[in-house]
Amino acid sequence: MPKYIVFMRSQSSKGPSGSNSPPSPEQMQQMFASYKAWMGKFKDQITDLGDKLKPGGRVVSATADGPFVESKEVIGGYMIITADGFDEAVEVVRACPAAQMPGAQLEVRELSGAKM
């Protein structure tokens, strides 16, 4: 079955430097510890930057679907799902809590599968 990558975008353009308050040294230690913990969880899934994306895709937003994404938005994260075609992928994404957030846009792209 084809795999799809879903980019989760948000309207916020807040970069790290724009975040609320600069982390303290203790917080930085904590942030690094969480990062290492995350890595420990996925260290068997090391890949060199994932898969190529096929051109084109569909965008699912809280209001309407469309092919375009505003360039001011920032991808907050992504997930990879398996689905039987774009329609099913879009359905899965619609059910995702992240798609219900105000201002959220999720972009669904099919992976070419070249590396799988």
């Binding site: 890595m39 899934q45 930057l49």
Partner: protein
């Protein structure tokens, strides 16, 4: 290239890249060589004019006008149908709005990383065209010869002249497949600053800042905003935090264990930690995630002695799994030597045959000299020591090596 030209290129590297990006966007990629000449000419003109008349308020606009005039002058000949320069002449407006220039440079990077260019040419080409590196500087960073870099550049330009390349039209979004190639270019650009062959601190800092600026642009644009980009950016900030403390008061290079950790840049460390947090999402660990973790181990260790060398050795082992490279083996050996003693480091290198590009490179000999010295193998240590010193790219590096190797 003359020495004067080289000085100009280094001092105005930033402007050069901006000029090339903006003019190529207008004139088209097939005109690249003319654009490069025009950018070079504008920078040379600046050297004499600014010395006489003072530096203009908007340096970018001044350079753009001069470069454009040069470009048009060079091409003032019976116009051919579809002359791409006609478009430039018809619309000579100055595009020096930060946002547009930022986009043009981002686009230019993606163009340079076109998968139709031979892979080994992409990096050399991007470093030359986007960053204004000389062939010598590129050769040192890519562990190859100047002649080889020259060949790679020639091949890239040959492909670009074939015509169907896309400097003008593609939406950035459609260029996303080139992201890994773009990451590699930004990574090398940063390392050129961080591990530089330049002796001038200011130039190295400029390269690091440039790489961080471009990568931040990439991370803030939908086309590049993904965890691997965030990890790359975290990696850069964590390394950059140590940049200033790598030099002593007289400009000599300081070894990691000699550095005053209180001088590490708190701003870069905070940015690094925050980007790490954003990088730690998804379920894919990239090479940059691993390298950022290594940088984090150094950055967040309370002291050299308290560094978790075992963790670092493990991270290098993971990197080797991802992309077998003798440089990773070498780094793992260094970490193992700190964690378990010099013999453990030598054992890790046992049976590793360095490829020709690494054998005879000073890094390889410097590590072997250090490990043999600490393991008490005097003769072998001296042998590699003299090789390392003769291969070191700068006097500052040679002095640091002498201290480390106690010679």
């Amino acid at each position: 290239m003359s020495a004067a030209q080289q000085v100009v290129e280094q001092a105005f590297r930033h402007e050069y890249a901006r000029l090339v990006a903006v003019l190529v966007r207008r004139a088209g990629l097939p005109q690249l060589e003319a654009v490069e000449d025009a950018a070079q000419a504008a920078l040379l003109a600046a050297l004499t004019d600014w010395a006489r008349n003072g530096i203009p308020d908007d340096r970018g606009a001044w350079l753009y006008r001069v470069a454009l005039n040069h470009l048009l002058g060079e091409w003032r000949r019976p116009a051919l149908p579809g002359d791409p320069l006609a478009a430039v002449a018809a619309d000579p407006a100055e595009p020096f709005f930060e946002a547009e220039v930022g986009d043009e440079q981002l686009r230019m990077i993606f163009v340079a990383c076109d998968e139709r260019l031979p892979q080994e040419s992409r990096l050399a080409f991007a470093l030359k065209t986007l960053c204004g590196f000389s062939t010598g500087e590129i050769a040192a960073r890519l562990f190859t010869t100047e002649a080889n870099v020259y060949k790679r550049l020639a091949r890239a330009k040959e492909r670009l002249r074939e015509g169907d390349f896309d400097a003008q039209t593609p939406a950035l979004e459609s260029l996303r497949v080139r992201l890994p190639s773009v990451h590699a270019v930004l990574y090398v650009l940063f390392n050129e600053g961080f591990l530089s062959t330049h002796t001038e601190h200011a130039i190295r800092e400029e390269l690091c800042d440039e790489a961080i600026r471009l990568t931040t642009g990439l991370a803030s644009h939908p086309v590049g905003a993904e965890p691997a980009t965030f990890a790359l950016l975290a990696l850069m900030h964590l390394h950059a935090a140590r940049l200033a403390s790598r030099q002593d008061a007289s400009g000599g290079l300081l070894l990691l264990e000699e550095q005053d950790r209180s001088r590490w840049d708190a701003g870069h460390l905070r940015e690094g930690a925050t980007w790490l947090e954003r990088a730690g999402t998804g379920d894919v660990v990239s090479r940059f995630h691993l390298e950022a973790a290594i940088a984090g181990e150094h950055s967040f260790a309370p002291s050299f002695a308290q560094t978790r060398w075992g963790e670092i050795a493990g991270l290098y082992a993971l990197l080797e799994r991802l992309e077998p490279s003798p440089l990773y083996v070498l780094n793992r050996a260094v970490a193992l030597a700190e964690a378990e003693g010099p013999q453990a480091g030598l054992d890790a290198l046992q049976g590793v045959v360095p490829p020709t590009w690494l054998e005879g490179h000073y890094v390889w000999d410097a590590v072997l000299a250090d490990l043999h010295r600490r393991a008490g193998h005097g003769e072998l240590a001296m042998h590699h020591c003299s090789l390392a010193l003769s291969g070191a790219p700068s006097e500052a590096m040679r002095r640091a090596l002498r201290r480390r190797l106690r010679v």
